[in-house]
Symmetry: C2
Subunit: 371 residues, 2 copies
């Protein structure tokens, strides 16, 4: 069977909210889509077949983490991350920019060279140039690659942000050249500009001039308020190309996602469902449930009585409370799986509501549930 | 459907090795049987439905651990451990004797009262009498209960061992009375006597006088050599009732089990497959595989190419090496599941070889593999 070219189709809209479909050589992605994060080649605590059963159609791999462990040599030996981790569906890789800002030590941006940093694991020095980032993402063999950007910490300093945009734009160009011409894969540009509308538009225009298969909103999920995030997203989506996927990086709670979908975003990724799963925090249709709370000690009800995936509805909150308090592996396994499954159900309901033009109702019902 | 009475049927023998079937109200157990250990109500790192798919027909719960967490009140609320942890098949509970010896602090044996000890978790004082142990096991609602015994550390002191037998015998009687008359459940006696044949026989005879539904060999797996263990088992199985299940407590490696089956033992339990799983040690038909070893870094082969349970044969040793080195949950999940599955396959092959009278061949092939 001939592998399909990367392609985005906008199916329908409800006001700004969009329903779409991304075609890749490894499968379809219905948008708005949530991408579970598989940091170093595993979505923490989930079996791959369970992940598929949650309805996940694409996962994210972290270039920064994967270049450190297991490294590109091993990934190349396996023909990429898909074979290595036994995940046959599409993979999007970030460029490493965000982790260099948030995780690595002594990071320095040299606009001509790239990012220079020391590994957060052993202090080893690395240079990540735009070309190198793309090469690593090719070794990972991901389906959607991201340009290397400079991702600043939250700041109101326009000079810093302007400088970020300048370097990011130059690097984006170099990434595009390194990416070359490959219709089976996609390269997304990343919009910077902090919380400023004019800077965001400036960054976007420069990226559109280069031309990408999709556009991401970067530099958010770095500590701004939800209101600031929604406003920034609202300001920029009005200017983003209609016929390309829009990806809000690193976001967020179900409510964050809902609010951004309302403004026309198509793709999301976040560690929240799995990270929360490991600390006993569950996302449900009734809101957040902190299973460590002793009020659940005698609670016989499951997190979701309708969910029979891996018999999740056969486990009481009482039992989960017992497991999480005693640091049992099964707690992380059950709650992480529940959370990923909930996120995918939530996305499914979002898509359904756009299609049936009941998005407003859905939005009003859930936008304030996850505080 | 009427619940079935507890019943053991010896199907066939090959020399001393026995093939049998235990009937319980919650299902059949083919013997020789391996019981995965579900310490506080979870076989560490395994989903219940996976556990069933490994062919596990019974698991073990630890009375000592369960009385501390979640405690009998919660277990009673759920009608026992089966409902609480969503495991519908039989459960055997130990009596707490072994953990009081090995885990608790400041433990003291008062032959008239019981075991007095402090919790290894918070130092809280507990008294576990023979009656209390049975009552807790009834709260757990286990299918096979064990008498509370005094489990001494490894010793050659005959006086100590004699004293142990005296107290254990008295407690066994009290347990029998507390257990009462319940044909749906079983109560097993526990033979003590260290490595001495005459003491073991003395202990066994006293237990037979009281009369139990099965007989366990206790006080082993406490640091003796495999040779000493095999000899002790060999010496006592000759005297054990033919028509009752024989259970060697806390044993062991696949080879330990194989050697004890040769001497006529029917039941085993051990934390080894799951504990090893969490440290990256796998049991395979080619022997032990320490997945932390960097020689597996580039090894594309799976642990068992024939095993498609949860796609286990789709994960390379290279990938497992990567996961275990980085403390990923999925490493514990995959390797623990593999190990439990291997143990159950091993038991299946043992049973098949007894039936087809090829046990000797199987024995010779695998008895030295797991060093």
């Amino acid at each position: 069977m001939k592998k399909k070219d990367f392609y985005f189709k906008l199916t329908t809209k409800f006001k700004k909210a969009r329903l779409g479909k991304i075609t890749t050589s490894r499968g379809i992605i219905d948008t708005p889509a949530f991408m579970p994060v598989g940091t170093i080649g595993t979505v923490k605590g989930l079996f791959v077949d369970d992940l598929i059963n949650t309805g996940s159609q694409i996962i994210l791999g972290n270039t920064y983490h994967l270049m450190l462990r297991p490294g590109t040599k091993i990934l190349e030996r396996f023909g990429g991350l898909h074979n290595y981790m036994n995940w046959k569906k599409p993979i999007l890789t970030d460029s490493g920019g965000f982790q260099i800002m948030s995780l690595s030590k002594f990071n320095k941006i040299d606009k001509n060279i790239g990012a220079i940093f020391r590994s957060h694991l052993d202090g080893k020095k690395f240079i990540l140039s735009p070309e190198k980032s793309i090469k690593i993402q090719k070794s990972i063999n991901s389906d959607i690659l991201m340009v290397l950007d400079v991702c600043p910490k939250l700041t109101n300093n326009r000079k810093t942000l302007n400088n970020t945009i300048d370097i990011s734009t130059k690097w984006a160009k170099r990434c595009k050249i390194e990416f070359g011409n490959n219709k089976k894969k996609a390269l997304f540009g990343i919009i910077q500009g902090g919380l400023y509308k004019d800077l965001r538009i400036d960054s976007l225009k420069k990226l559109i001039n280069i031309g990408f298969d999709g556009y991401a909103i970067g530099g958010l999920a770095v500590g701004e308020t939800q209101k600031e995030m929604f406003k920034t997203v609202k300001n920029i989506t009005n200017y983003m190309p209609i016929n390309k996927p829009r990806y809000l990086m690193g976001v967020g709670t179900p409510a964050d996602i809902l609010g951004a979908v309302k403004e026309g975003v198509d793709m999301f990724d976040c560690v929240m469902p799995t990270r929360s799963g490991r600390t006993g925090l569950a996302f449900t249709w009734e809101g957040k449930v902190n299973l460590k709370n002793s009020k659940y000690k005698n609670d016989k009800s499951p997190l979701d009585s309708k969910c029979n995936l891996r018999e999740l509805n056969s486990y009481s909150k009482s039992y989960l409370n017992h497991l999480i308090k005693n640091n049992e592996l099964l707690a992380s396994m059950l709650i992480s799986l529940h959370n990923i499954n909930f996120y995918q159900q939530f996305m499914y309901e979002i898509r359904k509501s756009i299609k049936s033009r009941t998005f407003n109702k859905f939005y009003n019902r859930y936008i304030n549930l996850f505080y």
